[in-house]
Symmetry: C2
Subunit: 162 residues, 2 copies
Amino acid sequence: MNTKSTKHKPVVTTPSEREIRIERIFDAPRERVWKAMTDATLLAQWWGRGNKLEIERYEPKRGGHWRMVEHTPEGPQGFEGRFREVTPPERVVQTFEWDGMPGHVVIETMTLEDLGDGRTKLVNVSLFHTPEERDGMLHSGMADGVEQSYAALDEVLHKLAS
Amino acid sequence: MNTKSTKHKPVVTTPSEREIRIERIFDAPRERVWKAMTDATLLAQWWGRGNKLEIERYEPKRGGHWRMVEHTPEGPQGFEGRFREVTPPERVVQTFEWDGMPGHVVIETMTLEDLGDGRTKLVNVSLFHTPEERDGMLHSGMADGVEQSYAALDEVLHKLAS
């Protein structure tokens, strides 16, 4: 498992001064990755990177809202947003906001590409209102958090396969 | 009344390709304008420009949410957002989103300046994620809507004075 997580490190780039782009390969077919990313019960198993995740609201459709509370050792952290587009099994566009910085909204565009060999390429582009907000996210340890989340997602995908 | 509304037309400008700035003078002291803009009962009397306004949620403090439904002749229109900053009696920063375009979020920074002669200058700057979203708002008849809302606000301020 560890070998796999290391092999598929997320690649983080900054295509523009207000964007962060993350690319990551998963050793699972696209339908399975889609399911693990949009089914609330499965989402709760990896998004919190081992921390308990409470899903207060999860309506994956255009106009639907979502809200989750991650119970970290430092206390609860709330996150929420709204779906702009949900196109199975390939594309989700949603807003993302952390309770610690209310009203600072990121637009996340997530696409899943079927690589044709049983693997899936995920690309997530985050668009911020300002370069400062983008930089704040970059310096928040976000890359480590994403790497941990996706390693946990690897495990969920592995379990779903068996 | 009409004379007053005409005299104080909102001035709409575009300081950058992602912003809309609106400036409007009110013939009322700042504390009174603040009250009419942040008290839910008063807000319901002018925001809908004569249409019934249902305030589902209104928590004017950092991190608080708001949601209002305007009952127009064409049907209900939902609007919502979250407060980033509420500093009485001079500044509110909040997000703004229309149900018709879910996940398209505008940051609104509203400031009230005491002109020292019993009048108040309101400045509202809206920051969009993209120039296209800004242009969409400009071409939506927004300026007329704002003018009607602020004319209705004039009436509320006049009533509060007596």
